[in-house]
Structure formats: C-alpha cells, structure tokens
C-alpha cells in the first residue's frame, strides 16, 4: 500500500468525490490557483475548472451562506474556511441556518454540505489563527463534527462527509497535513459516528482526537518500554459520538485518560468523561477519569509557551504513569 501525506489523502478524497458526483464543488478563499492556504486543493482548479473550485472574497459568512444555499438547491458544496478561528464569522449561516433547516422543514429540505477547516496550534500563528473548535460545533444540534487523525481516515471520512445529507464540520489539524500513512488506492468510505481503536492495550484507555492521537501513539511507544500497555481510541467523529467503543474499552482496562487539543473547560473531553461515568463502565473504573487538554488561555505566540498550552507527548506519558501509580 502506498504511503501518502494526510494532505494528499484528503485531496485524493475530494478529487475522487468530484469525479464521482458532479454536484460536488469546492468554495473558499484562495483555494483555486493558490491551492488553499495549506495547499489542500492544489491542482484541483486546473482539473475541474473555476466553476467547481471557486475562489471567493474574504467573507466567511458569505462563503458559508452560499454553501448552505447551494446545498438546499441540490448541490453538494465543500466549503473551506482558511482557519477554524474564522468559523466564528460563519456562525449565523452554519448554526442558525444550515443546522436547523432540515428540522424546521420537517425533513423536506436538506443541507448536504461540508465545512472543512484547519485547526490547532503549533505553527506559531498566535491566538487568532490557532484555535480548535470541534467542541463548539459539537454543541449544536443539527451539525455533525468530524476530526480525522490519519491519512487513511481523512480520505475515508471526507467521502462520508460529502455523501452525508447533513451539514458536517470537518476539522483538520494543521500539524497533521505533513503526517504520513498508508492509504489504499481507490474508493473507500469510513462510517461517520464510529470510533476506531488505534492501538490495542490492556492497562489504560486513552481517548484522543485529531493530533492528540499521534502524540498518544508516541507516548504509548515510550510507555511500552516500561511495560505499560496502552489502548488508544480515536472517536474520529465527535458528533455523533461513539461512546460504545469507549465504554467497551474501559470495561477491559479500568482506567482512562482523555487527551484533547481544545481548551479544557467545557470541552469534548468533559463530555466523554461524563458519558463514561453515566455508563456501565463506571463500575469498572479503577482510577478517577483524567483529562489532559489545552490550557484555558489564548494560544501564545512565544513558541515555548505555545508548546505548553496544549498536551505534548511527555505530558501524556506523565499522566498515564500518575493514573497507574
């Protein structure tokens, strides 16, 4: 199987969907000739033309509004918001319109759109270009939220998101774009709402999303040297959340660490933790549920401070050892 970068697998997924279904089109800032701020859409305008890879002025609300409207009219738009920080500008269109229309029209109208957006810190982009918002959008009924962590997953999940009849917010951590992994040729779709066991283990369950899956995998390798056998679960889709897989794992390991990139307070880690405690897994917990998350601060510009603002590999190693103490 060929090794590909996350960004390549994502592009491949978009391209294959555009070839498969002519209703699929891309819209966003600098996604055409420039190929997108991070280069995700590079080459697509040459292949599909400006009608299907549309560059826009700088107005997130307008871009998202066009997406919602086009979706209502039967197209399958893939909107790119250059930084997830800017999704705040698209809130009205996405949250009040896109997320609600299908419900308010009794299912007679649907909004099959995808809003793709890069998120996360670690690139020195400071407080307004480094935020991670999956938990924010997971809070709104009517939206699905996906945050793939590997090249294989991102291809399978972008296809699932495009084919879904509901608005899907698709988060891509910037540091993942350069991550390599095996990606099979051709068409495959991963189901939304299904978690993936990224690593089998028996001592502790780590529930990690997006970039934190990569860090947890590294931490697991280090912990393995000390005889600690870590299981890693990647929810992949944050909403709907696959608690079943998480609960099943905890019933075996009895311990859980949740690692997220978002700020800790009111984050999705809290949601997972509460879900565990509310479930039958409660009686299998052998240690308190622990969360590692971003600090409740704006992401600092200083690279050292920026690094400390979100969990790193060593933080995960330390937290696991504390739980297993």
């Amino acid at each position: 199987m060929a090794e590909k970068l996350y960004i390549e697998a994502l592009r491949e997924g978009l391209r294959e969907e555009m070839l498969r279904d002519e209703r699929v089109f891309l819209i966003g800032e600098d996604i055409g000739i420039y190929g997108g701020a991070f280069g995700v859409t590079k080459g697509l305008v040459q292949e599909f033309g400006e009608e299907r890879v549309i560059d826009t002025p700088i107005s997130e609300q307008a871009i998202t509004g066009i997406g919602v409207g086009a979706a209502l009219c039967g197209l399958r738009p893939v909107v790119e918001i250059m930084f997830s920080d800017f999704t705040t500008l698209a809130m009205e269109q996405l949250v009040n319109q896109g997320a609600k229309i299908r419900y308010m029209f009794g299912g007679k109208a649907k909004v099959p759109m995808v809003l793709r957006t890069p998120m996360g810190s670690g690139t020195g982009a400071a407080a307004q270009h480094s935020q991670s918002f999956p938990a924010v959008f997971a809070h709104f009924p009517g939206l699905k939220v996906v945050m793939p962590s590997t090249p294989y997953d991102v291809k399978g999940l972008i296809k699932a998101a495009i084919r879904d009849d509901n608005p899907v917010v698709f988060f891509e951590h910037k540091l993942l774009y350069r991550v390599k992994g095996e990606v099979p040729e051709g068409d495959y779709v991963l189901p939304l709402g299904k978690a993936d066991v990224k690593r089998k283990g028996k001592d502790i369950t780590i529930v990690a999303g997006s970039i934190m899956v990569i860090r947890a995998m590294e931490a697991a390798k280090e912990l393995e040297k000390e005889g600690i056998d870590v299981e890693i679960i990647d929810p992949m889709t944050l909403k709907p959340l696959d608690m079943e897989t998480i609960i099943k794992s905890i019933k075996r390991t009895g311990r859980v660490l949740i690692v997220e990139d978002d700020p800790k307070s009111f984050g999705w880690g809290a949601e997972v933790a509460a879900g565990i405690i509310e479930s039958e897994a409660f009686d299998y917990l052998d240690a308190p549920v622990k969360r590692l998350a971003g600090k409740d601060i704006p992401i600092p510009y200083n690279p050292n401070l920026e690094r400390h603002a979100v969990p790193q590999v060593e933080d995960i190693v330390k937290a696991v050892k504390e739980i297993l103490r």
């Binding site: 009895g254 009686d283 299998y284 504390e322």
Partner: protein, 411 residues
C-alpha cells in the same frame, strides 16, 4: 476555608504513620509553623508542624492510631469560620475504593474493610481486591453456599494453601446465627401429630400412677429355650420374649377385667376381648399393632401374628384393623438397655406395661443365700380414674407370678 491536615509522607518508603501525641487539642488557636503533633514512621519519630494558622477544629485520629499517608488527620479553620464536623466525620469513615474495586468486592462478597489499599491517596483499587481474593481459595460448593447465605469467605481463616470447604462455610454460618436461628423447622404432621395429640390427651385426662416390681425370668428363659425350636418348626418364626409377655399379660387380664376396661363418655366399658397392643418404634413414630384375643391363642400363634404385624408395621403396611381395638399395651425398651421406665397410657385403654431389660442380678433368697438371677423390671402405668392402687398392684403381681411360673399360662 477549612484546611485539611493530612498524614505527611516523611520518607520514600513511608506508607503509614502512627500518631504518638497531639501537642494541640481541638479548639486551640494554632500558628503556622508551631509543633502540632508527633508522628512515628517505620524509622523515626518526628514532630509535625502546623501547616496553617487558625483554630484546630477537629482531630480525627487519637494517639496510638495508625493512619495511611495522605489521610486527613485534622482540620484547621479560620477564626469564626463555620465548620461542619459531622460531615467530615462521615468522610473520614468512608472507605476509599475505586468503582471497579467496589464492584469486584461486591461480586465476590468481600468486605472492603479487610483490604489493604495500594492505590493513590489510600484508595483500594481492583488489583487489591483481586490479590485478596486470590489468597482465599475455596471449593466451588463452598463459594456457592457462601454467596447464597451472604457469608464472607474472607472471614474464614484457613491454613496457608488450604481450601475453604462447604463445612467451613456452614460452621461460619452457625457462628453468625443466634440460638433461635440455628434450628430446622418441620411442620408437625402425619403420625407424629397424632402421637403428640394422643399423648397430650392421655396425660391431661388420665391421672397416671405407676407400680414397679422385679420379675425372676429364669423360667421364662427356660420355657423359651425349650419351645423356641418347636415353634420355629411349626411356623418358621422364633419365639420372642415379647410373645411370652403378651401371653402372660393376656392371661392376667382375663382375671382382672377392670384393667381390660376403658372409660368412655361416663361409662366404664369392660371389654369382652383381650387385645394386646405391642408398641413398635419406627423412624416416623410409634405404632401399636394389636394381637387380638391373645388370651385365647397359643404361643405359636401369637409369635407368628406378632412377627407378621411387626413386619407390616416396619414396611408401613398396617391396616386400621391391625392397630385398632386394643385393650392393653406392652412397651418393651429392654433391647435398648433400659432397666425400667414409665409409659404413657394409650387411651382409651386404662393401663400400659413398661418392660425393662433382663439383667443378671444378685438376689437374696428365702434362705438368705445370694443367687444370681435374670431379673426384669415391669412398671405398670394405671389410669387412677378406674384402677386403684391395690387393683393395679394385684394385677401386676399376677403377671409376675405367671412369668415366674409360666406353666400357669396353660391354665
């Protein structure tokens, strides 16, 4: 805010500490840095300083107590701050255990109090419970019974390596029960209920008196020896002592009709027939099959009939005709070594004869010679409502006379 003073970790190997002495008492004003208490670790005695200024509100452990590291031992509050000591007491008494540890303990009927915690902050973790259970080895039956009866296997102490058996669990169950609980209840029914009813009525209605005398059985033994073989030839049954007793009693009863009578609804009813009942002990109670017209029957006939009746009784095949209509009863416990006893009258009969064991006894003869003789004691229980002492005495003496001169049975 209330400040919790915890058992400090005073060395890398320290897991618990003993409180030697409190240098302050509840209610004292304390200053940060002044000595609060003395603690003994596995290695040294140390003075622990007050970690906060305020009022020492609550001391949870008294001197001499051993406390795990991290456990709250005292509370200091600011002056005038409200403090709910009760809630804190409850907190201290609660055993810290992970949900998994609690579940495993619950599933295996283990008391968390028995388990030494190894988890962080003195928490019992699943592994602690599993280690504890691992040490308790029990047979599957023992485990099952323990679970059913709610017995904690951990409370049963066995030698290292030995398994807890069913008997150990049952023993433990007994210990945990009160005297009232250590019983087995079976409803009173069937033959037992009838016997209970009849015996109670007898003792309530019939004023019993008792007469005892000794019988020289020399001649009966001789008679039995000389007739036994012949009778066996006739009917295939060995002549028993009871058969001879039945015959002798029947003979005497002919001469004392009042003893063969009964008191029924204001009448003294004299019975024409002499029907002798023989008490036969069975597992489920007593039955009294009846030899009809024993006075008119020979020993051979009596022995055959009693043999058959006893067999029927033992196999539970007695018909009402076999046990109804008795006029007098003989009860013999001699074969069980009983020397003499007093029987309860089998109403409506008016007397019962209790027979003891034949015992070789030194007897002083008329000529003051001492001879060893086979002596048997007979005790007659009489219903005083119809039999007076003298009548009873005469009857019993007559039985004795017949037994000592068994040829009289031929009269």
């Amino acid at each position: 805010m209330a400040f919790e003073v915890k058992m400090p970790k005073l060395g890398t190997t320290m897991t618990e500490g003993t409180i030697i002495r409190w240098l302050k008492k509840e209610g004292d004003k304390v200053e940060k840095g002044e000595p609060l208490l003395e603690i003994q670790t596995d290695k040294v005695n140390l003075e622990e300083e007050c970690p906060e200024s305020g009022i020492l509100r609550k001391i949870f452990f008294s001197e001499g107590q051993v406390v795990p590291v991290g456990e709250i031992i005292a509370v200091i509050t600011k002056e005038g701050e409200e403090y709910y000591a009760e809630a804190a007491d409850e907190k201290i008494n609660k055993i810290k255990a992970s949900p998994a540890a609690k579940r495993v303990a619950r599933e295996n009927n283990v008391d968390l109090k028995e388990i030494t915690p190894t988890g962080p902050e003195g928490r019992i973790v699943e592994k602690d419970v599993l280690n504890y259970i691992e040490k308790i080895r029990a047979t599957p039956v023992a485990k099952k019974i323990a679970e059913e009866k709610g017995i904690e296997l951990s409370k049963i102490i066995k030698q290292e390596g030995e398994r807890i058996t069913k008997e150990d669990v049952l023993e433990k169950l007994k210990e945990s029960q009160t005297f009232e609980e250590r019983v087995k209840k079976i409803p009173l029914s069937g033959p037992r209920k009838i016997i209970a009813e009849k015996m109670k009525t007898s003792k309530q209605e019939a004023p019993h008196f008792y007469l005892t005398l000794s019988v020289d059985m020399t001649n009966v033994i001789k008679l039995r020896e000389s007739l036994s073989e012949k009778i066996e030839k006739i009917n295939g049954v060995k002549l028993s002592l009871n058969d001879i007793l039945i015959k002798a009693a029947a003979r005497a009863l002919r001469e004392f009709p009042i003893v063969n009578s009964s008191l029924e609804e204001g009448y003294i009813v004299y019975k024409e027939d002499v029907n002798i009942g023989l008490a036969v002990a069975l597992d489920e109670g007593l039955v009294v099959p009846v030899i009809r017209n024993a006075d008119k029957k020979g020993l051979s006939e009596i022995s055959k009939e009693s043999f058959e009746l006893i067999n029927k009784a033992r196999s539970g095949k007695l018909l009402p005709d076999d046990y109804q209509g008795g006029t007098f009863t003989i009860s013999n416990l001699g074969m069980f070594g009983i020397e003499e006893f007093k029987a309860v009258i089998n109403l409506p009969e008016s007397a019962i004869l209790a027979v003891g064991k034949i015992i070789k006894t030194p007897v002083v003869e008329e000529d003051d010679e001492i001879k060893i003789k086979p002596i048997m004691k007979l005790t007659l229980s009489c219903d005083h409502r119809i039999i007076d002492g003298v009548v009873g005495a005469k009857f019993l003496s007559r039985v004795k006379e017949i037994l000592e001169n068994p040829l009289e049975m031929l009269l």
